[in-house]
Amino acid sequence: MRPPYIHIASLLIAAVGLTLIVFIYSTQPKNLTEIAAKSSVAIGTYTIDKKEFENGIAAFRRDEFETARAAFDRSDPEKRDAAVQFYIAYSFYRQGWGRVSNDNDLFTKGLAATEQVIKLDPNYRSTDAELVMRTPIELKAELEDGLKITVSDFNPLKLTRERK
């Protein structure tokens, strides 16, 4: 073997190794699965787990929102998919909605999840016919409205409103 080949191999090992280490330290994966997920995001091959997503939607329709969110989290651990994040935000809205008063903690979490959807895809529009609000903008407005205390909150007719 000629010396230049070994020198090139050494430089390649150093470059690839250091890149990998910088990547790991900057992304802070918590386990080996996360290392694989974050690597797939970095190289552009990341996809959601469709089966878990379907499970999440099924639980969402049964109003089992915590189970649904757990399934959505397993489906999209890197929070990179607008559709999954939209369902997570929507689940916070539905769980936190109350005829008399809303759960502010859940609405705040829902708002954060909606911001994530807008960041991922500002023009996202859900194709789910069962959802009343189809865009993150509508959902965000509803959540923000729910967090505010206004004169209309004391309107007795408010008790007749329905969850969206």
Partner: protein, 245 residues
């Protein structure tokens, strides 16, 4: 062409091919040179990369998940001083690693190995220094004191290796045996911890010690051993021929 001319031409052609073969053989490495080059250019980078990766790695005490702590600025300074000491003690001879007479590619590969040695040194200090609190300040001050003295000490390769091994051993024992045992794991309530073990609770609070899973200590022990093994394998000269001369 006469018969004599044809013979002469064949002789010349044979002579040329022998010369070309000799040049090719000269360019190729012997078995010993190849093994030496593999040690310097492949095994050492891999060892130092592993040390760089594991040096900042910890395991969470609660769920054993990975934590990757980047090195503080102080570790970069300690790493630079360590590389300076390595050159000064002639564990690596500068002229035999970086030479104008050598090809650029060879010098670049040598620089890569030395840079990885620096990165590994930085991470070794990262794993040895307590992450925060009073203990971090005390151990950092002791490291500064020791390394500052080392800069002016008369070293050879063996003395340097012994000195670094001793320094790392005492720092490891301090952090992963003494301080780690003083820190309380946060599994029980604050009141319960105060009642059951007030001394430990007070030490944790006073020294502001982070708590990690015991697996961290095992990983860091082998990381230090790997670094010292890497230093042991590092030759004075990057080329086998330079070493024998």
């Amino acid at each position: 062409m006469t018969e004599k001319e044809a013979e002469r031409s064949t002789e010349l052609a044979e002579g040329d091919s022998r010369r070309i073969e000799a040049v090719m053989l000269k360019e190729r490495m012997s078995e010993t040179e190849l093994r030496y080059a593999i040690r310097v250019y492949l095994i050492l980078p891999l060892i130092f990369l592993l040390v760089t990766l594991f040096g900042g790695m910890r395991f969470s005490a609660t769920d054993h998940s990975f934590l990757f702590l980047p090195p503080p600025l102080m570790c970069l300074i300690f790493g630079a001083v360590t590389v300076f000491l390595i050159f000064r003690a002639r564990l690596i001879e500068f002229d035999r690693w970086f030479n104008e007479a050598s090809p650029i590619l060879e010098n670049a590969a040598n620089a890569g190995v030395v840079f990885l040695l620096f990165a590994a040194s930085v991470q070794v200090y990262n794993l040895l220094l307590p992450e925060q609190g009073l203990a971090s300040w005390i151990v950092t001050a002791l490291f500064i004191w020791t390394l500052w003295n080392d800069i002016f000490a008369d070293f050879d390769q063996k003395k340097l290796l012994r000195s670094l091994a001793g320094l790392f051993a005492i720092a490891f024992v301090t952090k992963y045996l003494v301080l780690a045992n003083l820190a309380v794991k946060n599994e029980t309530s604050w009141l319960q911890r105060i009642i059951e073990n007030p001394g430990k609770e007070a030490a944790t609070w006073f020294l502001d010690l982070p708590v990690y899973s015991p697996a961290t200590g095992y990983l860091q022990f082998f990381t230090i051993l790997l670094f010292l093994f890497g230093l042991f394998l590092t030759p004075k000269a990057a080329r086998k021929g330079d070493l024998s001369s």
